[in-house]
Assembly symmetry: C2
């Protein structure tokens, strides 16, 4: 299989969050010839939206997604998601990534939690459409169902998309979905229309933490080239965003080393 187009590489700023603020990440992308960036909103708030927009434009970077909206279990979810949509609009982001939240405090009712998520997305969808900001539901790994997101398979996310119509799709993060026996089938079902983002990293064996032990592409067991072939066959033309939460390894390293490794592995291992 042909290596991917290097100009499709994007940095999700979580990958370098321990040592770089957003300005440093933007400048790092420019320095390393990485054309896409996906900022997290805490770092965005730190820098300020206007400065971020201006700095990103001055380096002509594409914003492959804004992380994140969602968390519909939070008290101020509606206002917070409205602000996120405005920010994504200002950044001309390809999508606003929704990490939908898990079980509400004190509840075990997963079915109701999932219903509420669908309703909540439907409530912010008109504003997102009006702002031209596609909403990307990110199915999270089932091990994060209770505390982070109770949308846990691509099939489930696409069922929600089908119920809600235009303006909503999915972010396919290999870390969350690689294990799914229906992955190829559901990527095909999603098609170009629904795939709004493609996130890469790797699954380490052993994995020592349920959230912060992701691997660099090539260091784990995910068949990244095969998954990319499915994504491409579905017609997705967009960026490959590297998102690595790694408390013990990559967050400890010099971010310039991380960027160089990312670039190499994007070509050799994904």
């Amino acid at each position: 299989m042909k290596p991917p187009d290097p100009s499709l590489l994007s940095l999700n700023t979580a990958t370098v969050k321990a040592r770089w603020n957003l300005a440093q990440a933007i400048e790092g992308c420019a320095r390393h010839g990485i054309r896409g960036i996906a900022p997290w909103r805490d770092k965005l708030a730190e820098l300020g939206l206007k400065k971020a927009v201006s700095l990103i434009r001055s380096h002509d970077l594409s914003v492959t997604g804004l992380c994140r909206g969602g968390f519909f279990t939070a008290k101020d979810w509606l206002d917070d998601n409205r602000r996120a949509i405005e920010e994504a609009h200002a950044l001309e982001a390809d999508c606003l990534v929704l990490v939908v939240g898990g079980l509400p405090e004190g509840s075990k009712d997963l079915i109701k939690a999932r219903e509420r998520i669908k309703e909540s997305i439907s409530m912010i969808l008109p504003e997102a459409r009006a702002a031209g900001v596609p909403l990307a539901i990110e199915p999270l790994h089932p091990m994060q169902a209770a505390d982070r997101a109770c949308i846990n398979t691509l099939e489930q996310a696409l069922d929600v998309c089908d119920a809600l119509g235009e303006g909503v799709g999915v972010a396919v993060d290999v870390y969350h979905v690689w294990w799914d026996p229906k992955l190829e089938e559901q990527i095909r079902r999603a098609g170009r229309k629904r795939i709004l983002g493609y996130h890469i990293c790797d699954w380490l064996v052993p994995t020592r933490d349920l959230a912060f032990d992701r691997g660099m592409m090539g260091d784990g067991v995910i068949e990244l080239k095969k998954v990319r072939s499915w994504i491409e066959a579905a017609g997705y033309p967009g960026f490959h965003e590297v998102e690595i939460f790694s408390e013990r390894d990559w967050w400890q390293r010099d971010p310039d080393e991380v960027m160089r490794t990312m670039k190499e592995r994007h070509l050799s291992a994904s």
Copy 2:
């Protein structure tokens, strides 16, 4: 919802493995009035099959499952599974639980691994049928796909059952499947014929280890009563087997305390 019949409680010996050998677990069940037991094969080998059969019969316990066959990635998998079938037969176990194994050493090919598992089960199935030992495929949580079992949903396990025919079914362990949006639907599909075992415990928030941090019923977020109602609606009349891997908590406690808690929580929280 009515509490469950207390005579349906079964001890999976993993729950007390840190402090009790199999003889102690059998005697513990008898002492606490627990009518079912599911031994692990390492403890069985330690005690000896004949002694185990005799001790279990002398206390008139039901063997709700033998843990475990499977691990089709191991070098001696065929001989080992044959021995497991013989042992399950001698114990008159309700089923032999199959933990099917993850990716073969050095491979990332999940699709091929899954195909190989199906073939391997089909190779031991005639012997299992002849011995009157139902094989129970246990779908494991997706977080264990790489290293323990790459059958990860009930739907996937039932597809394998449908392909293989009679003599094979599933062990439904709430810990592995509670998050699945299709759980109710797939339990209904499985029905009385395919559900060979029902394992309970709880999912803790936070979960601090991918394998050994399970909770006691009632201490986590699984809607155990709801899942039991689905299992019962599907016609499953069998035991509720408590299987708790818990390095930091329950394995540290006096097993008699564990047994008492299990009995209480079976009634109050499952």
